[in-house]
Amino acid sequence: MHAVVFIKQVPQQNSVKITPDKQIDASGIEPIISLFDEYAIEEALLQVEKNGGKVTVVTIGGEEQIDALRKALAMGADQAILVNDPALRNIGSLGAAKVGAAVVRKLGDVDVVFCGKQSTDDETAVFGPAVARYLDMPVLSYVYKVHELDPGAKRVVVDRAMETTTETVEATLPAVLTTVKDLNQPRYPSLLKIKKAQKADIPRWTAADLGLNTAELAPKVTYLDRVPPPPRPKGSMIDGGSAQEKARKLVDVLVNAQVI
């Protein structure tokens, strides 16, 4: 089977700055693979270990994204592709999904696509369902357990973790699966593969390689403004001699403020 994993490199902490021209500045913050994407990589590796085949990891972005791809290779992915084209910057989640769909089409023989349920920076949760739609594949989002993934029978059965329910859903393959935390335990890069990953040849694909008309990728969403969240009003400390006294005072304050 051929599993494709879309991953994204994001700042480890979200203590980003906003530039005067309203762009996000994450300089000085350690870049990492977005948390939920690590579960996507691990699940792809587990499924390919079970069924045989290969795992391809793909990122859309600049050269700085290469570290994320190399880490995925060191975890065990078989090949990596970086879609790097200045014309593909700031195209939004839907634009990225169009590019992602073009990558899967070019790869051709794909049985399953994995990605994290959302990135931990933009947090839109749009990429997975949208890429499925562009590919005309079913999407299984918020997967927290894979019961069965059988490329021969073209069938996948998963549990989806919803707010108060667990849904067991089956779908035909090829399909797109988006992953939540604790679906599995992502492995560490293997030391032997770290060495190989550094030497691995990672092809760069452009919009032209993918046959994309960049005019059609213009985002339909614009950022009119970006600001930090308003500071919370300054709070007050509840003092008291004993724990009981402090607790009583707090309850009084909450009642008076009509919070409880």
Binding site: R226, P229, A243
Partner: protein, 325 residues
């Protein structure tokens, strides 16, 4: 193109959800500002009944598709049905809730009908005749104002952004749509309620525990008890979820759940940036921590310095006393 502002209505056992009632208010507000009309969209296996309820809220139009395939949400069926109606009637706005299903739905739908999409927004308004939406990103460290240049704007909206609409009586019309031919590639095999699951996002009061509790036993002993006294739900910090004290579904924070209850009580939680991202929009925040310099106190409305293992039983006691009296 019709100047219609649609909302996707959801109902449980015939009752409109609270989120839907908020969306009705919001759709009415936006439609008035745009000089258009609000309308509801209902996709369900018993759409007729829900449509009648919607009309009683004074909506002039309800678009409805009824089909057994719409009993359980599947992306294929819901997006297929919605896309067909949208192509036919061309609304300018579609509002939905921001539940996980709705975020899945809006993403696939926006791709399908080539709409502009604001996902998981905290506000939407009309400014100079155009729709703008507010959405936090980067763990609530950035508040984005979005503008749109598409014919259709789809917005999934979090709770508590508008008052819940009240039934006002009405004589609107129901427009029935056909369930289109869609590939039946997905099937919901079963839906199971999670044992003791609480929808943290819907809870008005949340008590959360962190590493300061010292052990999983202390968490189990103290946090649910206090939550029960408040008649609220209970959550946890990432640190103790990672340490295996508490299952992931209770995690509040950037990589867990984002919540904004009326009251949030943080017990033994230091207030790492990742936790603050998930709860800083709560109405009132109470922080209980041994360390007076813990960052949690920077966002707290009320702070108590002391040992959580002493303060929580005392607080449970005080809350129960107050409730009894």
């Amino acid at each position: 193109m019709a100047n219609e502002v649609w909302l996707l209505a959801e109902a449980h056992s015939g009752e409109l959800t609270a989120a839907t009632k908020e969306l009705i208010s919001k759709a009415q507000e936006l439609a008035a500002a745009l000089g258009g009309q609000p309308a509801a969209l209902v996709l369900s296996s018993n759409a007729a009944q829900v449509a009648e309820t919607l009309l009683s809220y004074g909506l002039p139009k309800v678009y409805s598709v009824e089909n057994p395939a719409l009993e359980h949400y599947t992306t294929d069926a819901f997006v297929g049905a919605a896309a067909a109606l949208i192509r036919q009637h061309q609304p300018c706005v579609l509002l939905t809730g921001a539940s996980l299903q709705m975020r899945d739905f809006t993403a696939a739908l926006a791709a399908d009908v080539d709409a502009g999409l604001g996902s998981d927004c905290t506000g939407v308004a009309v400014r100079d005749g155009h729709i703008v939406a507010m959405r936090p990103s980067h763990g609530a460290n950035v508040i984005n104002t979005l503008g749109f240049n598409s014919d259709l704007v789809i917005i999934s909206l979090r709770r508590q952004v508008a008052p819940e609409a009240q039934p006002a009586g009405g004589s609107g019309e129901v427009i029935r749509g056909q369930f289109p031919q869609v590939a039946q590639r997905m099937r919901v095999v079963k839906v199971e309620d999670k044992s003791n699951a609480v929808n943290l996002a819907d809870s008005q009061i949340i008590v959360s525990g962190g590493r300061g509790l010292g052990s999983a036993e202390n968490y189990e002993k103290l946090v649910p008890t206090l939550a029960q006294a408040f008649n609220g739900a209970y959550g946890a910090s990432r640190a103790i979820v990672d340490a295996g004290w508490v299952p992931y579904e209770r995690q509040v924070g950037q990589t867990g759940k984002t919540v904004s209850p009326k009251l949030y009580v943080a017990c033994g939680i230091s207030g790492a940036i990742q936790h603050l991202a998930g709860m800083r929009n709560s109405g009132t925040i109470v922080a209980i921590n041994k360390d007076p310099d813990a960052p949690i106190f920077k966002v707290a409305t009320y702070g108590l310095v002391g040992d959580v293992n002493e303060l929580l039983p005392a607080l449970t006691e005080a809350v129960e006393q107050k409730t009894r009296s």
